[in-house]
């Protein structure tokens, strides 16, 4: 076996499978070298035996099982993803509703002024307003009281001098014998 034989055998795979870029040169070598011809024939016999063994393709039932198995898993995954998306959507809607409710609460209790917790200044102002209202209510009560006394005087009662005492309680009716 010379250098050319060695080169041929290195390229035997490419030659057999038709991927050699030097087919013409290898053909020329084959014409002159019976050893390499025998080698090529032995390789082709071995590959023919491999082909006859029928290992090249999968039986239909195996392929069907693979397709069914994988697609069933894909569908399960898709359902899981769809369920997760649905839950996420529900959670988003719930979060929006909750935020809306919080916003409404905030608006109502802050009286539209921007803060539900009043500052010290606001508290003072509100206290003063409440106090003013209380004073006006007291004034109104005083006026009512004065009008009440005037009315009693006009009716000729003494109750005017004894405020707070009901006329019925002051003079108990005497028992008739």
């Amino acid at each position: 076996m010379n250098d050319e034989c060695e080169r041929f055998r290195e390229r035997l795979g490419d030659y057999v499978y038709g991927e050699s870029a030097q087919t013409a040169a290898l053909d020329r070598h084959l014409e002159q070298c019976s050893g390499c011809r025998r080698e090529l024939e032995a390789t082709r016999r071995a590959l023919a035996a491999v082909d006859r063994a029928g290992l090249g393709s999968a039986p239909e039932e195996v392929v069907d099982e693979v397709i069914l198995g994988v697609t069933a898993r894909l569908h399960r995954d898709m359902r899981r993803v769809a369920r997760r998306r649905w839950l996420r959507a529900v959670a988003s809607v719930a979060a929006c509703l909750l935020l809306g409710a919080l916003g409404a609460w905030f608006f109502v209790f802050s009286d539209g002024k921007g803060s539900a917790v009043p500052s010290n200044g606001q508290l003072e102002l509100e206290t003063r307003a409440v106090a003013a209202e209380a004073e006006s209510v007291l004034r109104l009560l005083d006026e009512l009281d004065r009008e009440n006394r005037t009315l009693l005087q006009l009716l000729g009662g003494d109750a005017v001098d004894q405020p707070g005492v009901e006329p019925d309680e002051k003079e108990e009716p005497q028992e008739q014998v």
């Binding site: 055998r9 035997l12 050893g35 390789t43 016999r45 035996a49 999968a58 039986p59 894909l74």
Partner: protein, 189 residues
């Protein structure tokens, strides 16, 4: 093979998360992936499980497939790795492969009235399975991809993240070994 590049709209759709597109790829590649797994492990039941696992792994990681990558090469690599894991992990691997390889011999013992040609064919088949089984893993993978799946040296190199030259050398050794076992030896001039 060029048609399988990722400019293939089906692969692109699958990459973008379309499960229907991936389903179509499963239908397209189930046969070749199953055969590839069988050619490595020598058992159809194991090949079916390996194929399913490989295809599901591909589905879950398809976003990592680069646009410059070849889908078939990428998928085949997953299947080859799964097959290698199966062989490594299976303590009964030897038995499994022998079972597959010697099925013909078992049949001879149980069915006496078998035509002679069939008997010869089954013995030859067992010899082929044994010869493939005895190849070193890398040589077997290179031979399987070249002979059964018609991949070029460059495509095999891409699938195995190897060089074309390394593929050539592995193929050359694999053919030498098969020649010696299946065609009555090599010329030793």
């Amino acid at each position: 093979m060029k048609s399988d590049r990722n400019e293939d709209p089906l692969v692109e759709r699958a990459r973008n998360g379309d499960p229907d597109a991936f389903g179509e790829l499963v239908v397209r590649y189930a046969a070749s992936v199953s055969a590839l797994a069988y050619q490595h492990v020598g058992d159809w039941e194991a090949a079916r499980d390996i194929s399913q696992t490989a295809l599901l792994k591909a589905y879950r990681s398809i976003r990592s497939l680069r646009t410059s990558q070849n889908f078939r090469a990428w998928l085949f690599r997953i299947a080859i790795n799964e097959s290698a894991d199966f062989i490594r992990l299976s303590r009964t691997r030897k038995e499994t492969r022998l079972e597959a390889g010697n099925r013909a011999v078992e049949d001879v013992a149980t069915r006496e009235k078998r035509p002679l040609e069939r008997l010869v064919a089954e013995e030859e088949r067992a010899a082929v399975v044994a010869a493939l089984d005895e190849l070193p893993p890398r040589q077997r993978t290179v031979f399987v991809l070249r002979h059964f799946h018609g991949l070029s040296n460059a495509e095999i190199a891409e699938t195995l993240s190897s060089s074309s030259n390394a593929v050539k050398v592995n193929l050359s050794y694999a053919l030498k070994s098969l020649r010696e076992k299946l065609a009555g030896g090599s010329d030793r001039e």
